[in-house]
């Protein structure tokens, strides 16, 4: 956890959140918060200010953020709430807590080059419109080439491993220094 706190400090996150006076405008306007009471951007900021991020990182609700930036636009103290959530996601991923859907998305991109596979409905509509059939992905050889040059596979593996290590309570500080922080 200390490593992650350090990571958040490197992103200057607590400093950027410090002007927050907890008015709740972010939570009030959040389209996710309207449906999910456990998604509260104000509390995310508050937890960062209180230096207590353990719970949020384990919490899967941070992955619900759609980055609509409503909070950013309405914040009277110009705090980048959405950016804070993005960094929390990064920290959670380093902790091995990436949401299943995110991991799936990554795999999908590396496999097909698509962020999202066309759904059955889309395929049906295409057929109705008489559009040509879609290929099995747009080809991801270039992506894979780039990924291999960047040791992407290896990094993903390390991340996964470290996540497991962290949850077991063994943190390897030396290793964390060697790793690129932006792979998540």
């Amino acid at each position: 956890m200390e490593v992650l706190k350090q990571f958040l400090k490197e992103q200057d996150l607590p400093q950027r959140a410090r002007a927050c006076y907890q008015c709740g405008v972010c939570a009030g306007g959040c389209p996710v918060g309207r449906w999910r009471s456990d998604f509260n951007p104000r509390l995310f900021v508050l937890n960062i200010l209180r230096d207590d991020i353990t719970e949020i990182l384990d919490h899967h609700s941070i992955w619900l953020c759609t980055s609509c930036l409503t909070c950013l636009e309405r914040c009277p103290q110009k705090i980048e709430v959405s950016e804070i959530v993005v960094q929390l996601k990064n920290a959670a991923a380093r902790n091995g807590n990436a949401a299943e859907s995110e991991v799936k998305k990554h795999r999908e991109i590396m496999k097909t080059g698509w962020l999202q596979n066309p759904t059955k409905r889309i395929l049906r509509v295409r057929q109705e419109l008489g559009l040509p059939e879609l290929p099995e992905g747009i080809g991801s050889s270039e992506l894979n080439h780039m990924a291999s040059r960047l040791d992407w596979q290896e990094k993903m593996e390390t991340l996964r491993k470290r996540g497991a290590q962290m949850s077991a309570g063994h943190e390897d500080h030396d290793e964390s220094k060697k790793r690129d922080s932006r792979v998540d």
Binding site: V25, A27, G28, G33, R34, N40, P76
Partner: protein, 617 residues
């Protein structure tokens, strides 16, 4: 207002504008432009003219909620009660002229200029209400049922557009639910970064007023923090809670029309329960913040009083002299220098009147002897355009007419010395803190073992008392510092620092008030701007830049002073005397060249002094 108009000692000049101000405290000469009303004072406010006027325009006093004619009285209790013709909207049909039985309407009136000699000036420009249209999330101007607190105030007024009946603008029905949104524009970095101060109490008051008239209306107030700092305010807040007004902690994020066009919905967070809340209501009232009067900027430039970053007038000192402007004899009342509520405005108005009478009751005014004096024979402004002194003077005490030497008005000057430090020809003397005196102090303090000394320049208000504070608190610091007191860090010339190094000083410290505490408004920032390049200059000359420091120390920061001196002493020891001497020797030629054009420095050179002491001996 009626009282003021009836007072024998007060002459009210309404519908008039201050055009020009000359002179200084006790001797202001002002030019006032009296605008034509097109109605003479024989008007008895019978309303005959209004009845025949065919023009209808929105009534500004009623927030545009009711119409008025082109000839009108601003509001019923207006002083004077004389009507006025709004020439912008008048079509000059002259029906009013025919209708007036007193023949009071006179379209031949023109602008009248009045010149007056006055002793002091009080600026009471008040505030205006923020237009919440830019707060697009609340939809003011888009949804009819989103109104401002001021609109509601007019609606509840028995002599207002609805005779005191509360209606919602969309269908003129009486709303069953009313919600107030606090901080509409205030405490918002996107709009007004400050707290407007009055809106919490204003909303609570209007909410209670609504409750009294319509006991069945549900009232909610959405807020970030409720601020009740003055006497009786907290009790009033308590009463509002007891009366059943709902207070929801949470700044609303959005206001949208309800489903099927029924009422409005406020999206907010109920912070106490950390829950998203959709609050249904019929009428949304925005507690809009206060903004400076739109005339403030122009008026400020006419009386040479500057505005602060919020656009209100800047007072001499926010804590110690909140009523005074930087120019002696010009004072503020009410919301001219920041949003205020009624009791605070009244007390400030009384204060300003007392400050004025202090000047008006005396035959003469004593001022501090520390003032600037320009040597007219040296002033650069005679030959070409210079005006640096006038530009930098935080008090507008210097006038530089083209082709004439700069002229200081002693009654306006406070002796900070910024002009003297900035003058390119060194032709401004600050009495009691002149260059010769300061150079003499530099020389005397650096007579023996200068390379072991830290020469500290300290301002009279913050750093010097700060150093004193270190002593009073018995804080220990190395005995290597020697202090020179000046009125303000703005007085410190680059030459003072360079001269200290030429005399072989080990270290030089320049200290003054923190920027926001400067007792001469902006003089400290001028010092900072002026002295910053010295780090580079010194480096170029071969002197380690770490031997020069600029620090801002307040009067309470004795510990900081002690720490800075301790740090500097350590640096001094680390660099070592040998290297300091070498550096000084290396820089000597460059320093000599730089300081060669200061004639009286030769007075301090060894020979002159020897001769002087021989003469004395």
């Amino acid at each position: 207002m009626v009282d003021a108009a009836r007072h024998p000692g007060i002459e009210l000049m309404t519908y008039s504008e201050l055009k020009k101000v000359e002179g200084y405290v006790g001797n202001f000469h002002v030019t006032i432009e009296k605008k034509p009303r097109y109605v003479s004072e024989s008007c008895n406010a019978c309303d005959d003219c209004v009845e025949v006027c065919p023009i209808k325009v929105p009534n500004e006093f009623d927030q545009g909620l009711s119409p008025r004619r082109a000839i009108y009285q601003p509001f019923r209790q207006a002083v004077p009660s004389t009507y006025v013709v709004d020439l912008k909207n008048c079509i000059k049909c002259f029906k009013c002229v025919d209708a007036c039985s007193l023949r009071a309407i006179d379209f031949s009136q023109g602008i009248e200029e009045i010149e007056l000699d006055v002793g002091s000036i009080i600026l009471a420009t008040g505030f205006e209400v923020f237009d919440p249209t830019p707060l697009s999330e609340y939809g003011y101007g888009r949804w009819a049922d989103v109104i401002t607190g001021m609109d509601l105030e007019r609606l509840l007024d028995p002599s207002g557009p609805t005779q005191g009946k509360l209606i919602r603008p969309s269908d003129f029905s009486v709303p069953r639910r009313v919600a107030f949104i606090q901080c509409a524009g205030s405490r918002d970095e996107r709009h007004l970064a400050y707290c407007s101060g009055y809106c919490c109490m204003a909303s609570i008051k209007t909410a209670l007023q609504t409750r009294e008239k319509y006991p069945d209306v549900e009232i909610a107030i959405f807020y970030i923090d409720i601020r009740t700092p003055h006497k009786g305010y907290e009790a009033f807040f308590r009463r509002a809670r007891q009366e059943g007004i709902t207070f929801v902690r949470g700044k609303p994020s959005e206001v949208i029309p309800g489903s099927e066009g029924q009422g409005m919905v406020i999206y907010t967070e109920d912070r106490d329960r950390a829950q998203h809340l959709e609050w249904e209501t019929d009428l949304v009232v925005l507690a809009t913040g206060a903004i400076p009067s739109r005339t403030a900027h122009e008026l400020g430039s006419r009386v040479s009083v500057s505005l602060d970053e919020t656009g209100f007038f800047r007072e001499y000192h926010p804590k110690l002299r909140p009523i005074d402007s930087p120019s002696e004899g010009i004072y503020f009342a009410g919301a001219a220098c920041g949003p205020k509520d009624i009791p605070y405005s009244v007390s400030q108005g009384s204060g300003a009147a007392a400050r004025s009478s202090r000047i008006l009751m005396n035959e003469s005014l004593l001022i501090e002897p520390i003032v600037a004096k320009v040597d007219p024979s040296q002033c650069l402004n005679v030959e070409k355009k210079c005006g640096v002194c006038a530009l930098r003077c935080p008090f507008g005490a210097i006038a530089t007419a083209p082709g004439e030497p700069a002229r200081v008005t002693p009654a306006k000057c406070v002796g900070c010395g910024t002009c003297a430090a900035e003058c390119p020809k060194d032709c401004i003397t600050i009495y009691h803190y002149n260059d010769l005196q300061i150079f003499a102090q530099i020389h005397t303090l650096l007579t023996e073992c200068p390379e072991e000394k830290i020469l500290a320049f300290m301002c009279r208000w913050c750093s010097y008392p700060g150093a004193d504070n270190a002593g009073v608190n018995r804080l220990e610091y190395p005995p290597s510092s020697r202090g020179i007191r000046v009125m303000c860090s703005g007085r410190i010339k680059r030459d003072f620092v360079l001269e200290a190094f030429r005399r072989g000083a080990g270290m030089v410290l320049v200290s003054g008030c923190h920027s926001q505490d400067c007792h001469y408004i902006s003089a400290q920032s001028h010092a900072e701007r002026r002295l910053k390049p010295l780090f580079k200059t010194l480096k170029r000359m071969g002197i380690s830049p770490e031997r020069f420091r600029m620090e801002w120390i307040s009067a309470a920061e004795g510990a900081k002073y002690a720490q800075i001196i301790t740090e500097m002493d350590q640096t001094l020891k680390r660099i070592g005397q040998k290297r300091i001497k070498e550096e000084n020797a290396a820089a000597h030629a460059a320093l000599e060249k730089r300081l060669s054009d200061i004639p009286y420095l030769s007075y301090f050179s060894g020979e002159t002094r020897k001769r002087a002491s021989a003469d004395m001996g």
